[in-house]
């Protein structure tokens, strides 16, 4: 096991990067979902959502 780690320790870097990218993508998905949820609340109350909120859907 230690020999394996000595040979492939550098794999920690790309794997960590992939893990962080996946984590950020998951948070971005949750942020978009929250924004959609808020827009739905505006629609239900019969009002227009602020343009900043709509613009956010293209960025988050």
């Amino acid at each position: 096991m230690l020999d394996l780690f000595h040979s492939f320790w550098w794999l920690l870097f790309p794997l960590s990067w992939v893990a962080v990218a996946g984590w950020n993508a998951w948070l971005a998905h949750k942020a978009r979902r929250d924004a959609m949820d808020l827009i739905q609340t505006y629609v239900r109350s019969g009002r227009d959502a602020p343009p900043e909120l709509l613009a956010r859907l293209n960025r988050a």
Binding site: L12, F13, A28, K30, P50
Partner: protein, 136 residues
């Protein structure tokens, strides 16, 4: 186990950076969610939210909400891009020196790190010159 730590103690620093980045993203996401929750309360009660609160939506969720650099003028983003080019470039030079002089008898390991730093520097340079960068 002690030998392993003596050989790879320096891995604590880059790996801590990854953990810190993930934690910062999580905190920024929480702040963003709290803002949306507050706006939701305003919408549900039929009141207009304060413009300052709505203005917070213009910040990207995965950056520090008090940090204007990412959403500020394009010039600031370019300056930050050059900062990364220089930072990673100098780190690449340092690790190349460590690799060629076989510092701590770990030349091959330093060579890999030098490659990574060089790649990051080049990627930052391309990002600055083309005016584009990763969104995440």
């Amino acid at each position: 186990m002690e030998d392993l730590f003596r050989s790879y103690w320096w891995l604590i620093f880059p790996l801590s950076w990854f953990v810190y980045g993930g934690f910062q993203s999580w905190l920024s996401y929480r702040a963003n969610r709290d803002t949306l929750e507050l706006l939701k309360s305003y919408a549900a009660s039929g009141r207009e939210p304060p413009p300052e609160l709505v203005a917070r939506l213009n910040k990207r969720w995965n950056y520090d909400l008090d940090d204007d650099r990412y959403d500020g003028p394009r010039r600031h983003r370019r300056e930050r891009g050059w900062y990364h080019v220089v930072l990673f470039g100098v780190l690449c030079l340092g690790f190349t020196y460590a690799a060629t002089s076989d510092l701590y008898e770990a030349g091959p390991a330093f060579l890999i790190v030098a490659f990574v730093m060089g790649a990051l520097s080049l990627a930052s340079l391309v990002s600055v010159l083309t005016g584009r960068g990763p969104k995440v």
